[in-house]
């Protein structure tokens, strides 16, 4: 076993197939992450602006954006004059 340490995944791959659902989830997150990062690259945007730009429902933007914030890829910008919506920007 020691010789396999650090590469045990290949042993599981022989026994187990990755589900289509898992592959789809990965594709969807990668696609959305890329779209959000690209949209925020030039300017700071609010969730509403991102939603409009990406044609994604507001709640989905919240989920993805907050995940990217958690992973350290996005940071919080300013809040608007009404103290309602924050802008978000890419961590450089």
């Amino acid at each position: 076993m020691d010789t396999e340490k650090g590469n045990t995944v290949k042993l599981l791959k022989e026994k187990r197939k990755v589900s289509t659902e898992a592959k789809e989830k990965l594709k969807e997150f990668t696609r959305t992450k890329k779209a959000i990062m690209n949209a925020l690259n030039g300017e700071d945007l609010t969730i509403a602006q991102l939603s409009e730009k990406l044609s994604l429902p507001y709640n989905e933007v919240v989920y993805y954006l907050m995940s990217l914030l958690k992973f350290g890829l996005v940071q919080v910008g300013e809040i608007d004059d009404m103290d309602e919506y924050f802008t978000y920007k890419v961590v450089k």
Binding site: G6, V18, A22, F29, K33, Y58, N59, V61, V62, Y63
Partner: protein
């Protein structure tokens, strides 16, 4: 298949289970604690603060679980499920357990999170009530115990990125389920409670209206390890200004099959209202209630403190919630004091969900009868004189597995259960 003997097994690693295990272990008996989750700490470790003192919940829980995790007389199995408990001879129980693979060697993982950073997969984080994502290679939460990684194999794409970056080579995809047979002298059930599923009340719109959340979701939003950077509406990321609580969601309600008072909802809602007013000083918080049951030590003062802070209490039953185009929510309710139907608009609605029985415990005993009460909690056969005793000699209850209770009562209950368990061990040794 491993075969081992312990003096006691504690089923459930929440605050009651931890307390019971520690008490028994401190009296020089060997204890096995099993927890189905990846971390011990139960629901309490995920709370923001506790009522009525507003002490930090994690600050109380973590020293206790650390003490337990390091105790030489305690063995902990996380990610493990109890399959069956049966009698073994006159004075022992035989317990079968399945230990699920974590795909990480706990002893070698340093919790560096490099695997997390390398993992490309993101799925909803169950410890943040699905409000934000987590990786498939992940540490359950920052104060988890053990604070080591795990692989969510159902969502893993087997890319091997985690293994490549792991500095201690602790990721091991060859791990398989382990079956254990344990012989013990006594069993303590500390499997806790479940929260009511608000989807059973469709008129509240939970799941449909994104700004209707549960009290546990709000609890996470108020915790230092929150899913968002501040309190936000999950529907559109707006900072909420008008927040409503609906008490007795799924408790004291015969229409959903739960007539019992959950005992904790009034107080945790009042606590959250106070915390919200601290987090969002400009927010208006309204609590819609049937009765405020502030029955414990310091509870009524805590309620009065909320009144003094400006929390608005409305005695009223909510008939229906509807959503406006902008995500705001309209509550239609009967104002009990005026006897009139009223409508009020809020940015966000928090459903103060009730406590329901976790019926897992009954499934473990196939050839023994573990009686349950009419609310499906484990029955205390002598609730006045021996509240930890069950219908099976040598099996005891700790915490909310026998009915709703708050944290101090759960700890008291665990104390009683551990004393009874120790007596049982001594008597039959």
């Amino acid at each position: 298949m491993g075969k081992v003997t312990y003096d006691a097994i504690v089923v459930g690693g929440g605050i009651a289970g931890c307390e019971a295990a520690l008490n028994i272990a401190n009296n020089d008996f060997n204890v096995l604690l099993i927890e189905k989750d990846l971390s011990v700490g139960g629901k309490m470790i995920l709370l923001s603060k506790v009522f009525p003192t507003l002490d930090c919940s994690a600050c109380i829980t973590t020293p206790k679980i650390s003490e337990m995790a390091r105790h030489p007389n305690i063995t902990i199995f996380t990610g493990s499920e109890l399959q069956k408990v049966s009698k073994y001879g006159d004075n022992l129980f035989e317990v079968s357990i399945v230990k699920n693979p974590r795909y990480v060697n706990i002893e070698d993982c340093t919790g560096c999170q490099l695997c997390e950073q390398a993992c490309p997969v993101t799925v909803p984080d169950q410890y943040q009530l699905d409000m934000v994502g987590r990786k498939a290679a992940y540490i359950p939460f920052s104060i988890a115990n053990p604070r080591v990684a795990a692989i969510d194999i159902d969502n893993c794409t087997l890319c091997g990125a985690c293994e490549k970056v792991c500095p201690t080579k602790c990721i091991d995809f060859t791990q398989e389920k382990e079956e254990w047979i344990i012989h013990v002298k006594t069993v303590i059930l500390a499997t806790g409670f479940n929260l009511f599923n608000p989807e059973m009340i469709p008129r509240y719109g939970f799941g449909l209206y994104k700004n209707v959340v549960t009290s546990m979701q709000m609890e996470r939003q108020l915790a230092p390890t929150r899913p968002f950077h501040t309190v936000l509406r999950p529907g559109d990321g707006k900072v909420p200004d008008r927040i409503a609580y609906i008490l007795c969601t799924g408790s004291r309600d015969a229409s959903v099959g739960n007539t019992m008072c959950s005992q904790i909802c009034c107080m945790y809602s009042i606590k959250q209202a106070q915390l919200l007013m601290g987090a969002l000083p400009m927010a208006d918080v309204t609590i819609y209630y049937i009765d405020i049951r502030a029955f414990g030590k310091g509870f009524n003062e805590f309620y009065e403190q909320a009144l003094g802070m400006g929390v608005n209490f409305v005695k009223g039953k909510i008939g229906k919630i509807s959503e406006k185009k902008n995500g705001d929510l309209v509550l239609r309710y009967e104002d009990v004091c005026s006897g009139k139907l009223q409508e009020a608009e809020h940015d966000m609605v928090v459903l103060s969900v009730g406590v329901v029985a976790n019926q897992d415990a009954q499934k473990y005993f196939t050839d023994l009868t573990l009686k349950k009460d009419r609310h499906h909690f484990v029955q205390q056969v002598d609730p006045l004189l021996n509240p930890s005793k069950t219908s099976i000699e040598g099996v005891f209850v700790a915490g909310s597995v026998s009915g709703p209770m708050d944290i101090p009562d759960s700890i008291l209950s665990a104390g009683a259960a551990s004393v009874e368990a120790i007596n049982h061990i001594i008597q039959f040794s």
